[in-house]
């Protein structure tokens, strides 16, 4: 089966002149397609909903991106040990399990519910600041980016006043066009900044925030090193604001492009939970998928993927699989979209998803009720979408 030479497609696929909100379909007809990554290495592309579930939940696929055969999408500057410390997204059990366990109480649903009054306050203040600045305004600048940035700063114990510094470096790290020196510099600067912060938390004997708690409960006890805590903090800081920011920006765009559904959401606020799940499914902002390395021969979707071969789990395609979701390219907030995999699947599934859901729910609810006249401003053909690991819109001019 795997010995037949299937045509190879260059990945990631380029968006033709269609709607950027519709993910680019796989060009081949094979269920599991052969692709060539930008590094020149070949891998398998898995895009059906059932197959992606199987792949991401299987212990036969490794997340260890330091492995020489790992199907990276670009040369990675993270391969030496000091840069990789604590970066548990690229680890397997038991290391991944240990780091993840330290964080599960910090992000559990109850903890996020306790945070909701602060999220609401932050959302309302941001809307009021934007309103005070006057219409039209860029929703990304005034709302979508600051809200999750302020919340993750509060949670981690990072001063929000440093937001310009870490936002700019985060963007460089996620931008697929960044050069190796740019990536290395951005990563090292972010790590240096957070190393200083962790040192202060250790000296001060534990502040009441995630980094302060881990500094006392895990670093002081010798369970992890300060360098590993720095790695954890880089991961949480970058993932904690860029992803949600892009979901708020793009989600607002989708709601404004579906005025009948937006009107229903305004009339029936209880629809918000379903709307958030559908936005997550419809947008699936991690557009380049999740890479994995087979460590045992495994059949996925009729294709044997052999140990040592790479596979990309294309979440955006799985979330538009007609076998899993009827009329998948339609945005329908009445759809029960809970089985989407916008947060990934398997033991690496986004640990911040309860936080993201709380933020998205509150952000869209307050935005739609407080600005009933919210509308897109300017020429829609001017919208610039970001070619990044995390899909987004650069600016979203709105009036109200």
């Amino acid at each position: 089966m795997s010995d037949t030479l299937a045509p190879t497609h260059r990945f990631p696929f380029v968006q033709p002149n269609g709607d950027p909100l519709v993910p680019v379909p796989s060009p081949g007809s094979e269920r599991v397609a052969r692709i060539t990554l930008p590094t020149g290495r070949e891998a398998w592309l898995v895009s059906h909903h059932d197959d992606v579930r199987q792949l991401l939940r299987s212990p036969d696929f490794s997340s260890d991106f330091s492995h020489p055969l790992f199907p990276l999408l670009r040369e990675a500057p993270l391969l030496d040990e000091s840069r990789r410390a604590g970066f548990f997204i690229g680890m397997d059990a038991p290391d991944h399990t240990m780091f993840r366990r330290f964080l599960t109480p910090e992000f559990m649903i109850k903890a996020m519910r306790r945070l909701e009054p602060l999220i609401r306050e932050t959302v309302v203040e941001s809307i009021e600041s934007m309103r005070a600045a006057g219409s039209p305004a860029d929703l990304v600048e005034w709302f979508a980016l600051p809200v999750p940035s302020m919340i993750i700063c509060h949670l981690l114990g990072v001063p929000y006043s440093d937001h310009a510094f870490f936002q700019q470096r985060s963007r460089t790290l996620l931008n697929r066009k960044s050069s190796m020196p740019e990536l290395r510099a951005a990563g090292d600067e972010l790590r240096g900044y957070l190393a200083d912060l962790v040192a202060v938390k250790q000296r001060d004997g534990g502040t009441d925030d995630l980094l302060g708690r881990l500094a006392v409960e895990r670093v002081a006890t010798g369970e992890i090193t300060a360098q590993e805590l720095v790695g954890i903090s880089v991961l949480l800081l970058v993932a904690g604001h860029e992803t949600t920011a892009n979901m708020i920006g793009l989600g607002t765009l989708v709601l404004l492009r579906h005025p009948d559904q937006l009107a229903q959401l305004r009339e029936r606020p209880e629809l918000i939970d379903g709307a958030v799940e559908e936005l997550l499914r419809y947008l699936t902002i991690v557009r380049t998928g999740l890479p994995r390395l087979a460590v045992a021969d495994t059949e996925i979707g009729g294709q044997v993927i052999r140990a040592g071969e790479g596979a990309i789990a294309l979440l955006s395609a799985a979330n538009r699989d007609p076998e899993a979701f009827a009329r998948p390219d339609e945005f329908d907030l009445h759809r029960a979209a809970h089985s989407h995999m916008a947060f990934g699947f398997g033991v690496h599934q986004c640990i911040g998803q309860p936080l993201a859901r709380s933020e998205l729910r509150i952000a869209f609810a307050e935005l739609t009720t407080r600005l009933p006249g919210l509308a897109l401003a300017g020429d829609q053909t001017d919208l610039v979408f970001r070619d990044s690991t995390v899909f987004g819109v650069e600016r979203l001019p709105v009036t109200w």
Binding site: L56, R57, R100, R101, T104, P105, E106, F107, M108, I109, K110, A111, H338, S339, G344, F345, G346, V347, H348, Q349, I351, Q353, P354
Partner: protein, 70 residues
């Protein structure tokens, strides 16, 4: 009238990755422990009206940590 078969739920805390998806799907049956955030089984034999929610929790669990019999 056909009787709804009993359902027995089991959770594997070792496998649990603390996603909280089970709590979202069936909050009467599952919770997360305050100290470690991992799954706590509240109702090992949930009543029939909760069976669909439990099946959804099984489906949504990213770690495959929930099993049902019956």
């Amino acid at each position: 009238m056909s009787e709804v078969p009993a359902m027995r739920v089991e959770v594997d805390r070792e496998a649990c990755c603390g996603s909280g998806n089970c709590v979202m799907a069936a909050p009467d049956v599952f919770d997360q422990h305050e100290s470690d955030g991992l799954v706590v089984l509240l109702l090992p034999e949930p009543p029939p009206e909760l069976h669909d929610a439990v099946r959804q929790a099984v489906h949504l669990c990213p770690a495959g940590a929930i099993t049902v019999a019956g």
